[in-house]
């Protein structure tokens, strides 16, 4: 009994794609964004620095108490949006992103910092929850066409920051790593 060879090939291709495409090192593309936006066929990333007044207005409108608003006024908020325009998954891991200024690496404020700080200040749990929802997810696999975003927070130093945003797009065995460089991202100031 012979089975038609083309059916066997089709079966293998449908059931175990990895059998016909070997895993390989990811292709790496490093691209400099123009300004605070980047977009190509597969992804879009935007950075929107927020002024202290914008941040205060946002959280005041959510009922945050004054002591929390004061805390947030003194730090630098960049609202980041990432969109997966591809038909594959986009793998996001904020720990892979790099933040530097003229003095070297810049440490962003992590969720653990905020949890500790809010607990010290006695911020109600509901506000802590809302605050966490406004942060950029630390790790997320974006589905095709999915877009998510949130804030990344730094100390205010007055120095522009270079942000290397790193995402991977593709299938498990064939991926492209995109390093998108945003130069001179400045913390926004209130109008004088």
């Amino acid at each position: 009994m012979r089975v038609a060879p083309h059916l066997v090939c089709l079966f293998i291709a449908l059931s175990c794609p990895s059998a016909i495409s070997q895993a390989s090192d990811p292709h790496v593309e490093t691209i400099a964004a123009k300004g605070n936006r980047f977009e190509n066929k597969f992804l879009r990333i935007r950075m929107a620095p927020r002024t202290p007044n914008q941040i205060a207005a946002f959280y005041e409108a959510r009922g945050f108490p004054g002591f929390a608003i004061n805390e947030l006024r003194n730090v630098c908020f960049i609202t980041v949006g990432v969109g997966n325009k591809s038909n594959n998954k986009l793998y996001h891991d904020l720990s892979q992103w790099e933040f530097t200024d003229s003095m070297g690496p810049v440490k962003r404020y992590l969720r653990t910092h905020w949890k500790q700080r809010w607990n010290e200040l006695g911020l109600e749990k509901r506000f802590q929850s809302t605050f966490r929802w406004t942060l950029m997810p630390e790790k997320l696999d974006f589905y095709p066409q999915e877009g998510e975003g949130g804030n990344i927070i730094f100390p205010r130093t007055g120095r522009p920051v270079t942000i290397k945003a790193v995402v991977r797009i593709g299938t498990l065995d064939r991926q492209t790593i995109y390093n998108v460089i945003f130069n001179d991202v400045k913390c926004a100031e209130d109008a004088k």
Partner: protein, 173 residues
């Protein structure tokens, strides 16, 4: 010959599965059918809801907050959808993430006065469910299994979304 038939059948089944997966409306993600953990929650009037009370029905489980733009935009559509599905085998459960009574009451009053929402007062239930962002909708099937995830606000009045909901309601075991 039997092997050939089996292979052909297998290919057809696989192809049908691919077609079904591809025919889902945009930003509707099939889930793994894992069991949805029970929870209980109350609303601003103290009325309680427990997920397990919806066994035998589909559940449209929607997480939202008044501060999120897409949630605000979607609310009138949710209101229409809820009215449309009122007598169907589906429970419409809205859960507000970490806002207080006044905010919820004022907000719903301005966009969809008859829409009802439960309150995740400290945001902990939302964290357990891990929506990918707000808004997010989970569809739980009558057996209490997580079946679909809707990313962000969806145009529920569009034919493809209406067809999806109808296909759930028509689903036999």
């Amino acid at each position: 010959m039997n092997t050939l038939k089996m292979l052909t059948t297998l290919i057809l089944v696989l192809a049908a599965n691919f077609t079904m997966a591809e025919s889902l409306p945009i930003k509707i993600i099939p889930l793994d059918k894992s069991e949805a953990a029970n929870f209980s929650i109350d609303d601003y009037d103290g009325r309680q809801y427990e997920l397990k009370s919806s066994r035998g029905k589909w559940v449209f489980l929607h997480f939202w907050a008044s501060w999120c733009g897409p949630c605000r935009k979607e609310m009138p559509l949710l209101y229409k959808l809820q009215k449309q599905l009122k007598d169907k085998n589906i429970d419409f459960i809205l859960i507000n993430t970490a806002e207080n009574e006044d905010t919820i009451f004022e907000f719903l009053g301005s966009v969809a006065p008859d829409l009802h929402s439960y309150m995740d007062r400290d945001g902990e239930l939302t964290e357990i469910w891990q929506p990918r962002g707000l808004p997010t909708t989970f569809f739980i099937d009558p057996k209490g299994r997580k079946r679909y995830l809707a990313l962000g606000g969806r145009p529920w009045d569009k034919p493809e979304y209406q067809a999806l909901i109808q296909s759930m309601l028509d689903e036999k075991d």
